[in-house]
């Protein structure tokens, strides 16, 4: 009987299409059609779409481990393991709260920036290499509020709620 073991290199099910999809000549056309249909149906759901976005974001965070000091061609620190772990924890809470970020980038201040956008309203959560977390809400022309968080789940949830209120106001 199938028994799970802890995943080592987790490949999300919805990535199946990308691994086996068009362009791979070993795939027969009926199989390609089945995969396309499955993929389209999976993506019609918000849950699966967001799940896919969060899995991509988690992979992006893991991928930042390859950045070197000075990655921006100036003198920026690369995100360290603490920043990556904090960012992954924040992403897990964001997924539970159903608020997918718009993008995720390394920060020039040393850390990782998780960004949100809704029209002209913007917000960011920054996970710094020091372990500190900061939140900013702003417009393209004005920073409206910046505050620091501790790494507790409750504190992060409250910040997410504030971001959501601002983005949808």
């Amino acid at each position: 009987m199938p028994v799970t073991v802890p995943p080592v290199d987790y490949r999300p099910a919805v990535a199946l299409y990308h691994h086996l999809g068009p362009g791979n000549e070993s795939i027969t056309s009926p199989y390609t059609a089945m995969l396309e249909n499955t993929y389209a149906e999976i993506c019609r759901s918000n849950f699966w779409t967001w799940r896919k976005q969060f899995e991509a974001a988690q992979r992006d965070v893991a991928g930042l481990s390859s950045l070197q000091h000075g990655w921006d061609t100036y003198d920026a620190e690369a995100p360290n393991e603490l920043a990556r772990t904090t960012a992954k924890d924040i992403l897990r809470i964001l997924e539970q709260e159903a608020l997918p970020p718009s993008r995720l980038l390394p920060s020039r201040e040393g850390g990782i920036t998780i960004s949100f956008a809704e029209g002209s309203r913007r917000a960011e959560i920054e996970a710094y290499n020091s372990g500190e977390i900061a939140v900013a809400i702003y417009t393209p022309t004005e920073v409206l509020k910046v505050w620091e968080l501790n790494a507790e789940t409750r504190s992060i949830r409250e910040a997410i709620a504030s971001i959501r209120v601002y983005l949808t106001a």
Binding site: P2, V3, V5, Y17, P100, R164
Partner: protein, 248 residues
């Protein structure tokens, strides 16, 4: 009879109606729907269809070619989403799911707004879909303890697997439809647990003209069939995870 669990594992419940719209239904027409629902669904995002990829947001990778198919209007807490697309209408309720009556009534209200603005020539497909995330409080589980339909691994092979995705198509001759069961192991959001998705998508392709009343009668039938498959797919041990069970 319907069954409601105290902690239902439903992570998304949706009603989907696909249509053939007249050419006059442009993205501008669909965007115009937002004014009518903005008080309850203030968030507006483009619904994009990408080559091999779909996105709910504005930003897409530079590598992807994209076509906008419509808009997704979300409630301020992002728990309810109304998709208005050129090819149809979808109303989703995300966790926490409340009940079928609220889902159906809100879908009916929003469908009325969509239909009035777009005037579809034909309804081509009607679906009820419930996506359940079953979180099992152990990192190592035997799927057969929780699920009554599982991938069968040959006894001659190693039994440990770290992931699976299974899709089964069950014809529904009673109403000439189909039920697609998708079951997949996914990365759990909580450490030291296991998560499995049970995605039940029951639909009917429509070839004849269907009147408004028939849509909602058919949706009740689809939902009843979905419930049968949900109950029949899980063991007692799995259902014990969902708390008190109430029949109504």
């Amino acid at each position: 009879m319907a069954i409601q669990y105290e902690h239902a594992p439903i992570t998304e419940a949706l009603i989907d109606i696909r249509v053939e719209n007249p050419p006059s239904v442009t993205l501008a027409v669909l965007e115009g729907l937002h004014e009518q629902v903005a008080s309850d669904y203030p968030r507006k995002q483009k619904r994009m269809f990408l080559v091999g990829e779909i996105s709910a947001g504005d930003a897409v990778g530079a590598h992807a070619s994209q076509t906008q198919t419509g808009f997704a209007f979300s409630s301020s807490d992002s728990k309810q989403i109304f998709q208005a697309r050129t090819d149809g209408f979808t109303f989703s309720r995300l966790r926490p799911y409340v009940n079928w009556i609220q889902l159906r009534d809100e879908a009916e209200r929003l469908w009325g707004i969509y239909r009035q603005s777009t005037g579809p020539m034909r309804i081509s497909r009607i679906a009820v879909r419930f996506i359940n995330q079953i979180d099992i409080p152990s990192p190592r589980v035997d799927y057969k303890d929780y699920f009554r339909t599982t991938p069968e691994v040959s006894p001659d092979l190693p039994q440990g697997i770290s992931g699976f995705f299974m899709e089964l198509h069950f014809p529904q001759p009673e109403f000439a439809g189909m039920l697609v069961l998708r079951q997949a192991a996914v990365a759990p959001l909580v450490p030291d647990t296991s998560s499995v998705i049970l995605d039940l998508d029951v639909f009917k392709e429509i070839s004849d003209v269907i009147d408004e009343g028939e849509i909602w009668t058919l949706l009740e039938e689809l939902r009843a069939r979905k419930n049968e498959f949900f109950e029949g797919s899980l063991t007692k041990e799995a259902k014990n995870l969902f708390g008190e069970r109430r029949e109504y």
